[in-house]
């Protein structure tokens, strides 16, 4: 009896989904014949067989996801007689693959849903490291997980503006950040891209637009960047959404998680909803409001739970670039460094030009570097024509 096993179709492949069988029991197969189609999550691959024989039994049904080296089918070698039939069922059951799932107790999962918290991001203190009801309620009380990236978890009784959070809350936040970021680095295959964006046009346009306006109506660069990210995501929907249940779930709207540092330490990244659909002036008002409320600890549950991508801006600290850690289950994080005048070659001429380094950290399960590069190029181009971004809902 010959066993036909799922081959590894790349160093990073540890499982594949059977998309189709091209053979059936009784067929004679030859070396090199394409017998099945397997999705490796990168591509649908025609899988060849390297043995000759007669197909005896197909062991894996179409649609099943199985680890590399799983026996997909058995063949009879030329001249071999078929064995006595064995009860089926056990074989098939053995091939079922259960995706790994974070241990969250039933009561914790229910409460987390009520509170709009993703329990997968919390540190567990229960049996076998599971997340318990108490863990969820502690997270709901603390002002928030999150690292350079993370949806906010702030309640209405959170720290007043300017007040340092209590030490245990700091500890809780650190634990929450640790859990989320550890999970991210454990589970998400990050890739990173960077692009230098000339900002002369954008800054000039902002200066012109803000001239003569009262401070409260001026547009900050940060708002324009958010708008540009949302517009550029139309070219790269694979960067906007969630990776859940072993697959990417795109989001139609862009809910930008805006990383906001808290005065007492730590960060939140609450969502600015539907960035693509809002005019720039409205976005600016909402951004100012969001930052104010985040620091006052009065975020809304919807803002806490549903960012579809995170945007972090460390320009104020005058770092050049930031390569972020993706906040699960999101699949991408866009980072902006400081805008500074630097040498730049334009049409063969060396000149000084304000430059911005934009980076992308993205989940390779959901997108590829090529798509990420298209996104950053689109972002660069959009920022060359800022007036087009300003008014029209995109």
């Amino acid at each position: 009896m010959i066993e036909f096993k799922l081959p590894s179709l790349g160093a990073d492949m540890d499982e594949g989904t059977l998309l189709a069988w091209h053979i059936k029991p009784g067929d004679t197969v030859k070396r090199g014949q394409v017998v099945a189609v397997v999705d490796t999550s990168k591509a649908a691959v025609d899988v060849e067989i390297w043995s000759e024989g007669v197909v005896h039994e197909l062991l894996v049904p179409v649609g099943a996801k199985v680890p590399v080296n799983t026996v997909l089918a058995t063949l009879l070698a030329p001249g071999e007689a078929a064995p006595a039939p064995v009860p089926s069922g056990a074989l098939q059951a053995g091939t079922a693959v259960v995706p790994l799932r974070r241990a969250v107790s039933p009561s914790a999962r229910r409460r987390a849903k009520e509170l709009g918290i993703d329990p997968d991001t919390l540190a567990g203190t229960g049996a076998q490291g599971s997340v318990t009801l108490a863990d969820v309620e502690a997270a709901a009380r603390s002002p928030a997980p999150v690292a350079a990236v993370a949806p906010a978890q702030v309640d209405a009784t959170g720290a007043a503006a300017g007040a340092a959070p209590a030490p245990d809350r700091q500890v809780d936040m650190r634990k929450a950040i640790a859990a989320a970021m550890s999970r991210s680095k454990r589970e998400i295959p990050h890739y990173y891209l960077a692009e230098t964006i000339p900002m002369k046009n954008a800054l000039a346009w902002l200066q012109q637009r803000n001239a003569g306006l009262p401070i409260t109506e001026r547009i900050l660069t940060a708002a324009l960047l958010l708008k540009a990210v949302a517009a550029a995501l139309r070219r790269a929907p694979e960067l906007n959404g969630f990776y859940r249940d072993e697959k990417f779930q795109p989001s139609a709207a862009v809910h930008a998680g805006v990383a906001i540092s808290l005065r007492g330490g730590g960060l939140v990244a609450p969502a600015l909803h539907d960035v693509g659909a809002k005019p720039l002036a409205q976005l600016m008002r909402e951004l100012a409001d969001l930052v104010k409320r985040a620091r006052a600890g009065s975020l809304r549950s919807s803002e806490m739970s549903d960012p579809t991508i995170t945007i972090t801006n460390l320009g104020e600290q005058s770092v050049q670039s930031v390569f972020g850690v993706i906040y699960p289950p999101q699949v991408a994080l866009v980072g902006f460094g400081s805008i500074a005048e630097q040498p730049w070659v334009d049409a063969g001429q060396l000149c000084a030009q304000p430059l911005l380094c934009a980076t992308l950290a993205a989940d390779h399960r959901a997108s590829d570097g090529h798509r990420g590069a298209l996104f950053l190029a689109e972002l660069r181009e959009l920022l060359q024509e800022p007036q087009a971004l300003a008014g029209d809902p995109s």
């Binding site: 107790s105 039933p106 009561s107 914790a108 999962r109 229910r110 567990g124 203190t125 229960g126 049996a127 076998q128 490291g129 599971s130 318990t132 009801l133 108490a134 863990d135």
Partner: protein
């Protein structure tokens, strides 16, 4: 509270009370008369009530349990003592196929108002064939009511309620409990209810659900856990069939964790049944996997250290609770 009394004395007083108050009541079984009962429960009753009502029987469980069923059908209120649950296997047919089913098979024409008492459990170095805990098997059978008195109050009060039941009732007396002592309620002649479980000790972190001879162990474990800051609620099931789901679920919903303590073997045990019900009825209230402390799946050994290792012990209960609490304490 009232008088302090032993479990054995409580059982004897309940028997005397029943014999005095109802002429249809009689006791029969091996050595219940002249010898005073293998566990000395019926000591003195032969002298007091005479051989018509305290009847020694031949060594034939099949015969005297069947006779008890016939007497019950004939209008008497027999109390049959089987020396231990181990020997009740010889009477499985009359208990299951006759006593439990006649009401159904006769279309409701016949009831079998029979009470069967027997000792159960291990822990006294009497070896495998005398150390079984089969009360969970009987709790599988529709038509039976299965009681497990763990306190002197229940030892005193359950018999009266069982005799008032028109259908067969089995009473399991754990052999380790006969010498235990406790206080009776002030009005000690009142029957107790034989429908509900009882919260024996209140708590908030974990439900320790047990019955019979394991109750003292669970209570001792709860005391040790309290010193570690874990608040265990101890539930005495008392009635193994029908199970009091409401009391169990109310406790589990509060504590969100449950550990079963059952001297039966774990596979197919009463503990397994209670865990299944919790999964069915309180799944979304759980904060940890359910756990149980049962007997090891071996014939109960004779050697003392081996027997102790095979049975649920306080240390095992404490460890099981710590495991379901995780790092949250």
């Amino acid at each position: 509270m009232g008088r302090r009394i032993s479990y054995r004395e409580a059982l004897r007083e309940a028997l005397r009370d029943a014999l005095q108050s109802d002429p249809r009541v009689f006791l029969m079984g091996e050595d219940v008369g002249c010898y005073g009962g293998t566990y000395a429960v019926s000591k003195g009753l032969l002298e007091e009530f005479g051989p018509e009502r305290i009847r020694d029987t031949p060594l034939s469980e099949l015969g005297f349990v069947g006779a008890g069923i016939g007497a019950a059908l004939g209008g008497m209120r027999p109390i049959v003592e089987i020396m231990t649950v181990n020997f009740s296997l010889l009477a499985l047919d009359p208990i299951v196929n006759s006593a439990a089913m006649l009401h159904h098979m006769s279309g409701g024409q016949f009831s079998v108002p029979l009470v069967i008492r027997m000792a159960t459990g291990a822990g006294r170095q009497v070896a495998a064939q005398h150390s079984n805990s089969f009360e969970g098997w009987y709790a599988h059978v529709p038509g039976l009511r299965v009681l497990s008195p763990a306190t002197v109050e229940d030892a005193r009060g359950m018999l009266k309620a069982a005799l008032a039941d028109p259908d067969p009732v089995l009473i399991f007396e754990h052999a380790q409990l006969y010498n235990s002592e406790g206080e009776l309620p002030v009005d000690e002649t009142l029957p107790v209810d034989i429908a509900s479980a009882r919260v024996h000790r209140g708590g908030t972190d974990v439900s320790l659900i047990t019955h019979g001879g394991s109750l003292p162990k669970a209570l001792q474990a709860a005391g040790q856990l309290a010193e570690q800051g874990i608040s265990a609620e101890v539930i005495d099931l008392r009635v193994l069939r029908p199970l009091d789901d409401a009391t169990i679920m109310a406790s589990v919903r509060k504590c969100r964790r449950a550990v079963l303590v059952d001297e039966g073997w774990r596979s197919g045990s009463l503990a397994a049944e209670v865990m299944a019900r919790i999964s069915e009825q309180a799944f979304f209230d759980l904060d940890a996997p359910l756990a149980r402390v049962c007997s090891e799946e071996v014939p109960i050994p004779y050697a003392r250290h081996m027997e102790e290792a095979a049975l649920p012990q306080v240390s095992k209960i404490v460890a099981a609770v710590q495991a379901v609490m995780g790092a949250s304490v």
